[in-house]
């Protein structure tokens, strides 16, 4: 067994305030988990806003330094030290963001992003190779290069644009995708198609996906393992369906009980 991603007591603290009123905020405290290279999985990170989910994701992406513990990808320090190491790292770990309309520059055509990613991280030597790589990636998400070529972000629907964002992440043939709330801005009728796509990518391409969400129902539906975070700490970890069927920690129970099931049973309590 080789580890793809290893987090060992990862912490992150920010200092806030001036010289006299300085105080530290512990955004992430002692988080440890491992994702195995040979067993692709969807690993969900669940928590409310301010629980440190996004900070953790930014550290895994190498966008933020860790302040304690170690964070390694295939044994190497996340982010790399030199430019060459950094590019190699970025080819292996790719992000998908929450709002596809904010992730793309509205003044640039969509194919620009795909082709640039192919040239820079995908190892494409010329335009033709880049186009082939972009087309392969788009076909993996149910689109094709001819459909998106020359189009601007505003010409596509949120669901389509999120698919393009996923395709862009796939261009460099990554081992790991970090998806930060990837479906919360997508319309309900398209949401499940995107969630199912993650399952397909895991099964067909052998990718691991870190799925950050506050939606327990989709986590139950698609994730293999999950951790529940509260105020920067992991309060519960385990197999997704086991944890959500029978949460042990009081916070996880509270979180689970607050999920409004789309079923009409008793009206919400008056108290």
């Amino acid at each position: 067994m080789t580890a793809l991603l290893t987090l060992n007591n990862v912490s992150k603290s920010f200092t806030r305030g001036g010289l006299l009123s300085r105080h530290r905020i512990e955004a992430v405290k002692n988080v440890s988990f491992t994702i195995d290279n040979n067993r692709p999985e969807i690993f969900a990170i669940i928590g409310e806003s301010g629980s440190g989910k996004t900070t953790l994701a930014r550290m895994i992406l190498g966008m933020q330094e860790v302040s304690g513990g170690s964070l390694t990808l295939e044994g190497n320090r996340v982010g790399g030290r030199t430019r060459k190491e950094r590019l190699a790292f970025m080819a292996k770990v790719q992000p998908i963001f929450q709002n596809p309309f904010e992730a793309f520059n509205p003044l640039k055509k969509i194919d620009y992003y795909l082709l640039m990613t192919a040239m820079r991280f995908g190892g494409a030597a010329d335009g033709a190779e880049a186009e082939a790589a972009a087309d392969t990636a788009l076909r993996q998400v149910g689109l094709s290069l001819s459909e998106v070529r020359g189009r601007f972000p505003h010409e596509m629907s949120g669901g389509q644009l999120q698919r393009v964002a996923i395709a862009r992440a796939l261009v460099s043939k990554p081992r790991l995708i970090i998806a930060d709330e990837p479906v919360s801005m997508v319309d309900a009728s398209l949401r499940m198609a995107i969630v199912n796509l993650f399952g397909e990518l895991r099964d067909k391409l052998g990718l691991s996906i870190i799925y950050i969400t506050h939606d327990l129902a989709t986590a139950y539906y698609i994730a293999d393992r999950l951790i529940i975070m509260q105020k920067g700490e992991v309060v519960e970890a385990g197999a997704a369906r086991e944890v959500l069927s029978d949460p042990q920690h009081p916070y996880s129970r509270q979180l689970r009980d607050a999920v409004l099931s789309p079923q009409v049973t008793a009206p919400i309590s008056i108290k």
């Binding site: 319309d187 398209l190 198609a193 199912n196 129902a217 999920v259 409004l260 789309p262 009206p267």
Partner: protein, 331 residues
């Protein structure tokens, strides 16, 4: 059922019209919508983004400003004198009605409260003129009302940024309910909140509504919220209302293919059935599909759907659906 409805929306149409540099655009965001809201009822309105939910809210509340234009139809509140509506009323009359009889809980409490004013002043700005009475009376009333929403009277001295998201949202609910209005319009009031806080806030909206006996028009895209809170539910798709009925019936026996899909696509904890997304993309309202607007994505579409727009038909005592396929099966 013998009571007259507090709000009757009758073939309401409101379009965005713009004409710049000779390019004329008309977007039918609210297209021929009719429904009733009974007194003491929470009416939910669901639909995806750009289905016209918020535009419908604005039209009902009479907040019509260019490029939005009222094309036809009427939204009649029972507390308005007969034969007058919000669109024709003069400004002084409107000012009396707004907030005392009709109030609004808006999306994003951070942007609604003036960041430069204390909560106390915000309450005074909104409600003092309607409640009347002396300044100290008003203060006591406000404090009492806040305690009903489990807010400490000390929040009156706070500025909006000093409160957490959940507290701010409770302040906006308190603000909308302090004059005990007959009708409250709530536009995605809990979308920005965490699930735990959301459940608490929904419970408060429910209890305060039951206590005052007012009606609430509650808009959100979250079907879980509708299932937990609303009595009746309307489903919107591309500017049209496609199905209306009791929330229980809509969840247990959805009729319109879009509603059916919407309900069946929701994952539930403790259930591992494979869920699918809908194929196709939501329509562009500037150029909506002909006939039934759902036909390009509909599994039941036939020839008539591409040409003729379905009208609302009664399928059950309290359920109406606009679909050729469903009406055909029941007729």
């Amino acid at each position: 059922m013998t009571q007259p409805p507090i709000l009757r929306v009758d073939h309401l149409k409101a379009h965005f019209r713009s004409s710049y540099f000779g390019v004329y655009r008309e977007v039918p965001a609210v297209d021929d919508i009719s429904f009733d809201v009974q007194p003491n009822e929470i009416f939910g309105l669901a639909g995806e983004s750009s289905s016209g939910k918020t535009t419908l809210m604005k039209t009902i509340a009479g907040l019509i400003a260019p490029p939005l234009e009222l094309i036809g139809g009427n939204a009649q509140f029972s507390f308005m004198p007969p034969a007058t509506n919000l669109y024709g009323a003069d400004p002084t009359q409107l000012a009396r009605i707004r907030w005392s009889r009709l109030s609004y809980i808006m999306q994003g409490s951070m942007n609604v409260l003036n960041p430069l004013r204390q909560i106390r002043s915000i309450f005074r700005d909104f409600a003092a003129v309607h409640l009347g009475g002396s300044k100290s009376d008003f203060e006591t009333k406000t404090a009492n009302h806040l305690s009903r929403l489990r807010l400490d009277p000390s929040v009156l001295d706070a500025y909006p940024h000093e409160l957490s998201g959940g507290m701010r949202q409770r302040v906006t609910i308190a603000l909308a309910t302090i004059c005990r209005p007959d009708f409250i319009i709530a536009d995605e009031p809990t979308t920005a909140l965490d699930v735990i806080v959301q459940k608490e806030v929904l419970g408060m909206i429910r209890s305060i509504q039951r206590e005052m006996g007012s009606s609430v028009l509650f808009v959100t895209h979250d079907m879980g919220v509708h299932a937990a809170l609303t009595d009746k539910l309307g489903i919107m798709y591309a500017g049209c209302l496609v199905e209306v009925g009791r929330t229980v019936d809509i969840f247990n026996a959805p009729q319109h293919p879009y509603t059916r899909h919407l309900i069946h696509s929701l994952p539930r904890i403790g259930d591992t059935v494979q869920r699918t997304g809908l194929t196709g993309t939501p329509p562009n309202l500037a150029n909506p599909p002909s006939g039934c607007r759902f036909h390009p994505r509909c599994p039941l579409a036939s020839d008539i759907c591409t040409v003729e727009r379905p009208v609302m038909r009664q399928v059950a005592p309290e359920q109406r659906v606009a679909c050729h396929a469903v009406a055909g099966a029941d007729a």
